[in-house]
């Protein structure tokens, strides 16, 4: 054996007493967090967005930048963005998912930097698969092993496409599912507001599912009706493409879902810390997530491309 590996090799392990004390401190902090602030759903949303790539519009559409592309017209309000994105959703017929299929999503991401946000100067490629029924999400370990996990909130395209498909009915269906999950999920603190949960669920569904045009249109319109959602003009994704974003500002961070300003195809996400506050190590202005969708297509199994 080599010398450094052996150096102080007989150091005693953590005592049970130290371990119990440290674990108790962690749990106390976790419980205090819930009591004082409630769950941090803006953050959870951002993480989920980063995982999923969000807003799965334009399945099967490749990234084409035409030289004579029409000019982007500024959107005046989040309602207008919702309406125009909805109209664009109808124009894209996409692919019709079959039962048992998976949506393969490939995206470019800024990698995380130590424990402090992401490194905007670097990029990594991420791949993920979501089952068409919305119940499972899969990713590859570096060793090539496929990890399949449950997906939140577990609704699929078929559940959302039941008639009538209107912003109110689709949001209503998601709300019922969330309320049901809320009842079955043990929480040690107060639940986040239904608006917050709805917002998160809509982006998660759009981000991970191949949805029919009318459902996507209804979700875009519905998004614009959720309090706290606004428009941000001119945001760049991880590939440098500039777009217009649905934005949600939580307690200490803002997340942008970036759409192409002309055809409202999903481009990527950006998240930024907006206040110092809760974590002294993360200053306002720290980038939290930056992604760009490179590809999204239906495949017959998780792990296929």
């Amino acid at each position: 054996m080599s010398t450094i590996k052996d150096f102080r090799r007989d150091t005693p392990p953590m005592t049970a007493r130290a371990e119990d004390a440290a674990r108790a401190r962690l749990l106390a902090a976790a419980r205090e967090r819930e009591l004082r602030h409630g769950p941090r759903h803006a953050r959870r949303l951002g993480r989920r967005i980063a995982v999923a790539g969000a807003l799965a519009v334009a399945v099967g559409t490749t990234v084409v930048v035409a030289r004579d592309r029409p000019r982007a017209v500024p959107v005046a309000s989040v309602r207008e963005l919702g309406e125009r994105a909805a109209q664009a959703a109808y124009d894209d017929r996409g692919q019709v998912p079959g039962p048992g299929q998976w949506l393969y999503i490939k995206e470019l991401q800024a990698p995380y930097r130590g424990a402090l946000g992401v490194d905007l100067s670097r990029r990594v490629v991420s791949e993920e698969w979501t089952s068409v029924d919305g119940k499972q999400v899969a990713s590859l370990f570096p060793n090539g092993k496929l990890l399949v996990q449950g997906n939140h909130p577990g609704l699929g395209a078929a559940d959302l496409a039941q008639q009538p498909v209107t912003p109110e009915s689709v949001l209503g269906r998601i709300r019922v599912t969330l309320e049901d999950l809320d009842r079955r999920t043990w929480r040690s603190g107060p639940a986040p507001s239904m608006d917050e949960q709805l917002f998160q669920a809509v982006y998660q569904l759009m981000g991970t599912l191949a949805l029919p045009p009318d459902v996507r249109a209804a979700l875009f319109r519905g998004l614009a009706t959720i309090p706290g959602v606004s428009v941000t003009e001119d945001v760049a994704d991880a590939a440098g493409r500039r777009g217009v974003a649905f934005s949600y500002t939580g307690r200490d961070a803002r997340y942008d879902l970036i759409l192409d300003p002309v055809d409202f195809r999903f481009l990527g996400t950006y998240g930024v810390q907006t206040a110092d506050g809760t974590d002294p190590e993360i200053k306002a202005g720290t980038p939290l997530t930056l992604t760009a969708r490179l590809d999204a297509k239906l495949v017959d199994g998780a792990g296929q491309k």
């Binding site: 010398t3 150096f7 993480r47």
Partner: protein, 188 residues
């Protein structure tokens, strides 16, 4: 939605802990003991008690910025622990120099057989301790993560938030010094 915690990767546990903070204890159960041992080897068990506890409190506070593209949180946690160990740099170097000088490792060890291991320090350990004490903190961080924790270069880069090239150059420098102290014997 009915997935056992044991099946979840670290990134998923962290994600879920946003809505249900107590889930974060799963990460503690997975990594606290090894992080404690790593810290104890560097700065002693007493300091390691605090470092291990503080690592998970800091990680818990920063969990919102964890990048889910990395399924395993081990490098992230060691990165936080390394920052905390840095606060004990003087103590770490003082103890290494004492071992180099006297052959007795003053690293606090509460176990009964501590005395045995204290007098049993080999000449090689004395030389190595001197070499480790003379390294810059950054070089020592890289060397020990690779030698003791079997980190890959990529994991070290991720843990310390430094470029891959810097990992290579630091490790090269640290190895060279250790090798010189050991009379050209390969240190790792």
């Amino acid at each position: 939605m009915t997935i056992e915690t044991a099946e979840l990767d670290d990134a998923e546990v962290i994600r879920r802990s946003a809505g249900d903070p107590e889930q974060f204890a799963t990460l503690f159960d997975r990594y606290a003991r090894q992080i404690h041992l790593y810290a104890a080897r560097r700065v002693g068990t007493q300091a390691a008690d605090d470092i291990a506890a503080e690592t998970f409190l800091a990680a818990f506070r920063r969990r919102g910025s964890y990048d889910p593209a990395f399924p395993l949180a081990r490098p992230w946690l060691y990165g936080i622990a390394t920052t905390l160990i840095a606060r004990h740099r003087r103590q770490e170097e003082r103890m290494l120099r004492a071992l180099a000088r006297t052959g007795v490792d003053p690293l606090p060890e509460p176990m009964a057989d501590a005395v045995v291991s204290r007098v049993a320090a080999r000449d090689k350990d004395r030389e190595l301790a001197g070499a480790l004490a003379s390294l810059s903190r950054g070089d020592r961080d890289v060397l020990l993560l690779v030698a003791w924790e079997d980190f890959s270069y990529e994991q070290v880069a991720q843990a310390l938030g430094i470029p891959l090239g810097t990992v290579r150059s630091r490790l090269h420098r640290a190895r060279k010094k250790a090798r010189a102290a050991l009379g050209d014997e390969e240190p790792i």
